[in-house]
């Protein structure tokens, strides 16, 4: 397969924006990590005004990865085909009765036998850190999706009490809007409700509080690479399959690192006078390996988190990482069918993908199928 990869990047802060000259980029989408999207960029040293836009106290970066599988149609090619000067009437007359594919085939060289449409991956991220290197004349930038806004917001009041029975999607929107006014959250089909009374306690970050109610319900809150907030089932069954039959590397590995067959979630919290402790425990059979997660300053939200952790942990232990030329349609949550001339076909679920530029390679991380 022959392709051409392009990348553009710009900085913005408030109403001001400026173009950056990227030298390298790495962008990862990971459904197992918050923020969901993390990226690093190295750019040529911009002027002082553009450098100031990158200040992490308000700065954002936006860009687009593009891949093409054939040359774009230049205006000169159309002119050559139809004859100059080209008017709209000329084009209309020429197009009459012809399929568009015949026209594009006539004026653009196809690079591959199997023609494919180009794909773009636009993104907009919050700048986390900027490191100018004046000797090299470059700037290193790290940026991520906007979950960090929630992670950096400890509740400043005396606590919010939420009654049982409230829709968790509604509660999530309420919490997110407390931090970022006016935010909309995609939450179609989310019917789970709060099983018990919960408190968003003073000093607990919005993210930790939401995590304490979303995890037992088997839900994940993500802010996508383009800034769309969505509440989705964790480990939802993939609805699409990505077929990878031209890998540059396949790296399987079996281990017990993250595998477990028992899960314990411990909650410890204080009501001002007394320290409380409550555990949520799930296991199957006679456990060999126990996973323990401790939450401090989070009120016991009811059972469920341990079962969710166990469901995930039982799928761990067979890592399959694959590499190929970047295809920006790949995203976490898809199924993947990997085949190559030297390995047995294998299917799995994509949990993360990392794109690098200008290497134009992607690295896909998976977990066992059927999660």
């Amino acid at each position: 397969m022959i392709s051409r990869h392009l990348f553009t990047l710009a900085a913005a802060n408030g109403a001001s924006a400026g173009t950056l000259k990227p030298l390298s980029a790495s962008l990862e989408l990971n459904e197992r990590y918050s923020p969901y999207c993390r990226a690093t960029f190295t750019v040529a040293m911009p002027n002082d005004a553009v450098l100031a836009l990158l200040n992490p106290r308000g700065g954002t970066v936006a860009g687009v990865f593009t891949v093409r599988y054939r040359d774009p149609i230049p205006a000169s090619a159309v002119t050559a085909l139809i004859g100059a000067p080209v008017t709209v009437a000329d084009v209309t007359a020429y197009l009459a009765g012809r399929p568009i594919s015949a026209i594009s085939d006539a004026i653009t060289p196809a690079w591959n036998q199997e023609d494919r449409a180009g794909v773009t991956l636009p993104f907009r991220l919050r700048v986390d850190e900027v490191t100018p290197d004046y000797k090299r004349g470059t700037v290193d930038i790290t940026a991520s999706s906007f979950e960090s806004r929630l992670q950096e917001y400890p509740y400043p009041g005396t606590g919010v009490l939420l009654a049982p029975g409230q829709n968790i999607g509604f509660v999530t929107r309420l919490v997110v809007r407390t931090v970022i006014a006016g935010t909309e959250i995609e939450r179609e089909g989310i019917t789970a409700t709060l099983p018990e009374e919960v408190t968003w306690a003073e000093g607990t970050t919005a993210w930790d509080f939401l995590d304490s109610i979303l995890q037992p319900a088997g839900l994940t809150l993500q802010c996508t690479e383009i800034g769309v907030w969505r509440l989705i089932p964790a480990n939802a069954t993939p609805t699409t399959t990505y077929t990878l039959d031209r890998p540059t590397a396949i790296e399987p590995r079996d281990n017990r690192d993250d595998w477990a067959d028992a899960a314990v979630v411990v909650y410890e919290w204080s009501d001002g006078t007394t320290t409380h402790k409550q555990s949520d425990i799930t296991y199957s059979g006679n456990p060999q390996k126990i996973m323990i997660v401790r939450h401090t300053d989070i009120v016991y939200p009811g059972p469920g988190a341990a079962a969710q952790l166990l469901a995930r942990a039982q799928k761990q232990g067979h890592d399959l990482n694959v590499e190929a030329v970047s295809d920006y349609t790949v995203h976490p949550g898809q199924a993947i069918a990997v085949s190559s001339p030297v390995t047995e076909p294998e299917t799995a679920r994509i949990t993360a993908v990392s794109f690098t530029w200008p290497e134009n390679r992607m690295r896909i991380t998976t977990q066992e199928d059927g999660a």
Binding site: I2, S3, R4, V325, P341, P358, N360
Partner: protein, 117 residues
């Protein structure tokens, strides 16, 4: 055949250019697939780079040309006959000045360059 090298309002007119050569490096990436095939991602080649040897009729002009190339500046090469060698360039590498080994009072300036587009 007239060659001129300009930078801003400064112009040099060497007697001739010797040993002009330019090199470009392919930017295409070849991705080795499991099984022996390759995928290719297309990229433009690098801009031209190489060296110019410029002959000057006296030491003073040669040194002035060297000093100009030693400053932080962008240069344009114009050539009336071989227009394909015309380019905008910066110094990238060595900058040498030396008297000719045989002719008296004739000086060479050698510039390693990188083309700008």
């Amino acid at each position: 055949m007239t060659t001129t090298i300009t930078s801003g309002t400064t112009t040099f007119t060497p007697i001739l250019i010797r040993d002009y050569q330019s090199t470009q490096t392919s930017g295409n990436l070849i991705h080795e697939l499991l099984g022996g095939e390759v995928d290719v991602t297309l990229r433009e080649a690098s801009t031209r780079s190489g060296s110019l040897q410029l002959l000057f009729p006296d030491e003073a002009t040669a040194q002035a040309c060297r000093a100009a190339h030693a400053s932080a500046a962008v240069f344009e090469l114009h050539q009336t006959d071989a227009t394909s060698v015309e380019m905008t360039y910066v110094v990238d590498g060595r900058l040498e000045v030396a008297p000719d080994e045989e002719a008296e009072n004739v000086w060479w300036v050698t510039v390693e360059y990188r083309e700008l587009v």
